[in-house]
């Protein structure tokens, strides 16, 4: 059938001169009456001209060309795509919060400050750490905050010469990039054959030059470091700090407190463990917590409660690292607070327990077809491998695209780097058994297709808005704007 309605146009291609989406009150005078000619804009403004209805149609249609968690299962490893409760959509944008100006008198924003303070206290409670800042805007921003906090700590305590950060090869790419931004030299260490930290390699790398060891717990192959306390002791014995990347905290929430096993600094992702939506790539929120000896070095400001008033005026002369213009992504912070308030000391652990149960169930169901790289119980995610691509000719990237045809987003692929052709699956606790069974069935069917009709997998996707995209073509001659 010939396409009559054009479905693939840009807003600028729909633009018709003279159309308007919104009108403003007419002014008596114009820009030239207020500003000298040399300060006036001379170039035309190439924005689309659409009616409000055109605009609504345009963006509604675009929304329909998206996978989304509200509609579909996202088994993305290390991303914790759990349900984003609808109540928080409304609560996070209440006018009282949305209109609060960051420079308003503190007496006029006590509600916002009280909420932030409450969340800081809750995060301290569930991690065992002594202080939290809600300032960082994302997980990677939290990492940088944490490493700069460590650096401020070392600088003030005789550790100015410490210049190295140790990162295992299973780490997220953000870890080494962060350490580099903080001016540290990155020492990569190989993992042991069981996927955990190779203690001998760590020991060899540790020295009086080590500032920080960055560990993701559980690690990116979905395993907890059983000897975490011993590792922490090794790190501390050379005077270094242990940084925990808390991207995978969904596996531990309510089950264990990082402070108990020796973590000095960690970040959390409110857009993962604490059910804030990902918004197509952000905004997130990456609170950073620190143990008592490091807490004075967290960035200024932190909300404190003094004489019955909540205030950002904290007196910590050691603090020097403002990470962004204003304190925290408050709209996301509100969501994280809402989530935590819906659990108590008895029910909080059910999050992690069910996240672990769901991941192990998927792992067990796919055994024999997509085997776990490490054949043992995992935490909140499992890292699977496909049938040998050397014999089938079908790669993980093909399987990922074929899953889209079956109505599932792809798992995280080719990560962690130490697992060839990795498919990293994190179901989260909010998916029910039927959805997991359906996902397993889809992968089983793809497994059959790999044997009988590999081309259908290699040509996938077939039923998406576009066919397989040649990503290299975009980088060759970049077209980045109209």
């Amino acid at each position: 059938m010939k396409e009559i309605l054009k479905t693939n146009e840009l807003s600028i291609e729909k633009s018709r001169p003279g159309r308007r989406g919104v009108r403003f009150e007419q002014t008596q005078k114009h820009a030239a009456d207020y500003l000298p000619a040399n300060l006036l804009r001379k170039s035309t403004l190439n924005l689309p001209e659409l009616s409000e209805f055109d605009t609504v149609r345009h963006f509604t249609r675009l929304s329909q060309q998206n996978y989304s968690l509200d509609a579909q299962f996202y088994p993305l490893g290390s991303c914790t795509m759990k349900y984003n409760p609808k109540a928080y959509d409304t609560l996070s944008v209440l006018p009282g919060f949305a209109h609060a100006h960051p420079f308003a008198p503190e007496s006029a924003v006590q509600g916002t400050l009280e909420l932030a303070y409450n969340l800081q206290e809750l995060l301290k409670q569930i991690t065992g750490l002594a202080a939290f800042t809600l300032q960082p805007a994302a997980g990677a921003h939290g990492e940088l905050t944490g490493i700069l906090t460590a650096r401020a700590y070392h600088d003030a305590t005789g550790g100015k010469d410490r210049c190295e950060v140790i990162v295992p090869d299973t780490a997220h790419g953000t870890n080494p990039a962060t350490a580099n931004m903080a001016g540290y030299h990155v020492i990569n260490i190989k993992s042991a054959p069981n996927g955990c930290v190779d203690k001998a390699a760590l020991k060899a790398a540790l020295s009086e030059k080590t500032a920080v060891v960055m560990l993701t717990v559980p690690n990116t192959v979905g395993l907890f470091e059983p000897e975490i306390k011993e590792i922490a002791d090794m790190v501390h014995s050379v005077g270094a700090l242990l940084y925990m990347d808390g991207a995978n905290f969904n596996a531990l929430i309510g089950l264990a407190k990082p402070a108990d096993f020796g973590v000095d600094i960690m970040h959390l992702n409110l857009h993962k463990t604490f059910a804030a939506p990902h918004g197509g790539g952000g905004p997130g929120s990456g609170p950073v917590g620190a143990a008592k000896h490091v807490a004075p070095f967290l960035p200024h400001p932190i909300v404190s409660h003094v004489n019955g008033q909540y205030t950002l005026a904290d007196n910590r002369p050691e603090s020097q690292n403002r990470m962004k213009a204003f304190y925290g992504n408050m709209a996301v912070v509100i969501r994280g607070y809402c989530f935590l308030r819906q659990f108590d000391g008895r029910t909080l652990k059910e999050i992690a327990e069910n996240a672990v149960l769901n991941a192990n169930y998927v792992r067990a169901c796919l055994k024999g077809k997509f085997n776990a790289f490490f054949d043992r119980n995992c935490m909140h995610e499992c890292v699977l491998t496909p049938p040998d691509p050397h014999t089938t000719g079908v790669h993980t990237s093909d399987i990922a695209k074929r899953l889209l045809d079956y109505g599932f987003y792809a798992p995280t692929i080719y990560f962690p780097l130490i697992v060839p052709e990795a498919l990293m699956v994190e179901p989260t606790e909010t998916e029910n058994k039927e959805m997991l069974d359906a996902f397993v069935t889809a992968l089983e069917q793809i497994y059959e297709e790999i044997q009988t009709d590999p081309q259908v997998v290699k040509d996938a996707p077939h039923n998406q808005p576009v066919k397989r995209i040649d990503e290299v073509s975009a980088a060759r001659q970049p077209n980045l704007r109209w």
Partner: protein, 441 residues
């Protein structure tokens, strides 16, 4: 509530796994760390939670806002949140699987295009955390491009932006030097020329500057380029409806806090870091960028591109550790600009000019308070008060008005000066009420 599986289903799943209970699955965690005591408050039902959070929101006072200083309240058409809050956008992940994420990808491409149109620059990224971090990352890119290690900034740069810049450069063997301002609250061009040496990688200009005055960007640009440095311009996006663009004065990078474009102030976050540049620098930009590609059938498709700059490929050699963008805020901005179009943006910019200048006239008429800003301004200016600005702020709060930003916070000599902003949201009535309140002091 959020955990669907029943006891029976959990049992069936455990049977499939071959574990007798969930505890067995947790054997990796040493027993001594498992199940710590948690002192948490009572779990709230949705109804209780809503009541509690409404109560907190109600503790914030609804003041008529005359504060800008980096975050600006503007009118947000209803279609903006109505569209951006659709679950299909809100709950989508980063568009790594491009074929299944064309919606998000196309909105980012359109956002990048709108940012280029607005600023007159060649390329834009998919966005950064906020204006301060976008500016900082642009300065770091300028250092990489020029191979120089000094970042010169305007004394009249937003104080928090200065702090963020210092945070990011403290351990990078880079120096930050301030070029002074004149008594009139604009940059001292002669002093700038002296400050710029062959060590300067870039100069960071803010216009309107922190005190609200528009700078002579053309002259600054010539001086900066004359010294072989790059120009990073920090702008107000709404002002660009009428004010000369960074492209017109040949800026190398133009950045801004994009919050005024369809996003609430929300106590300062989330912000929207807009980063634009000349085409030649595209491979030095940090963060995500969307481009046009073709699918197998030759059909136009959108995709994350130039990823060889990014941390997941380059690890410690990446141009930045950034691993997200403020996609939802960028979506608000592109919907906002699509609704306004070129004429709407010009109108709203002119309304800002009108309201702010009218307020300035009313303030001068009080005879006690005087507008100190002499240079052209957009929607914000400095007022000299007969008493401490902090007292003015406190007095006006009693009348339901947020009077402005007390410049005494920056330096004691400025304690009688107030930075005041009026956007199109402030009606004639609001402006009169403000002037009357000042007159009553």
């Amino acid at each position: 509530m959020f955990i669907p599986n029943t006891k029976e289903e959990q049992a069936a799943m455990l049977a499939k796994i071959g574990a007798k209970d969930i505890h067995e699955l947790l054997a990796q965690i040493p027993e001594k760390f498992l199940y710590p005591a948690l002192d948490l408050p009572k779990a709230l039902t949705e109804q209780e939670l809503a009541a509690h959070v409404h109560e907190l929101a109600a503790k914030n006072k609804p003041l008529k806002n005359f504060i800008g200083a980096g975050m600006y309240e503007h009118f947000i058409p209803a279609a903006v949140p109505a569209l951006s809050s659709r679950g299909e956008f809100l709950t989508a992940y980063t568009p790594y699987q491009a074929e299944a994420s064309q919606g998000t990808l196309q909105t980012i491409y359109e956002f990048q295009s709108c940012m280029c149109a607005l600023t007159g620059m060649d390329v834009a990224t998919a966005s950064h955390y906020d204006g301060a971090t976008a500016m900082t990352e642009a300065a770091l890119a300028a250092c990489r491009i020029t191979g120089r290690s000094e970042i010169v900034i305007s004394q009249l740069l937003h104080p928090h932006y200065k702090e963020v810049l210092k945070t990011y450069t403290r351990h990078a063997n880079l120096t930050v030097t301030e070029a002074p301002a004149t008594q009139e609250g604009t940059l001292d061009l002669n002093a700038l020329k002296k400050t710029l040496t062959d060590k300067a990688a870039c100069f960071i200009l803010q216009t309107p500057n922190f005190l609200g005055s528009l700078e002579d960007a053309q002259a600054v640009s010539a001086a900066v380029h004359g010294a072989g440095a790059l120009l990073v311009s920090v702008v107000n996006p709404i002002s660009l409806g009428v004010v000369q663009t960074p492209g017109e004065y040949d800026a190398d990078f133009a950045v801004c806090e994009g919050q005024p474009l369809g996003n609430p102030v929300s106590f300062g976050g989330p912000g929207l870091g807009v980063m634009t540049a000349k085409k030649a620098y595209v491979r030095q930009l940090p963060g995500r960028i969307v481009g046009i590609a073709k699918d197998k059938d030759g059909k136009r498709a959108f995709v994350l591109t130039l990823q060889a700059r990014e941390q997941h490929i380059r690890r410690e050699k990446a141009s930045s550790n950034i691993c997200s963008n403020e996609a939802l805020c960028a979506l608000n901005a592109v919907i906002y600009l699509t609704l306004l179009g070129p004429q709407g943006l010009k109108e709203v910019a002119e309304l800002n000019l009108e309201r702010a200048h009218h307020l300035a006239d009313l303030i001068n008429k009080t005879k006690k308070f005087h507008v100190k800003t002499l240079a052209p301004f957009f929607n914000e200016f400095v007022v000299q008060c007969p008493v401490a600005a902090a007292d003015v702020v406190a007095k006006l709060e009693e009348k339901g008005i947020a009077a402005g930003y007390d410049l005494g916070q920056l330096c004691p000599q400025m304690k009688n000066y107030l930075l005041v902003c009026a956007t199109e949201l402030r009606t004639e009535e609001d402006l009169n009420a403000y002037a009357d309140a000042l007159g009553g002091i």
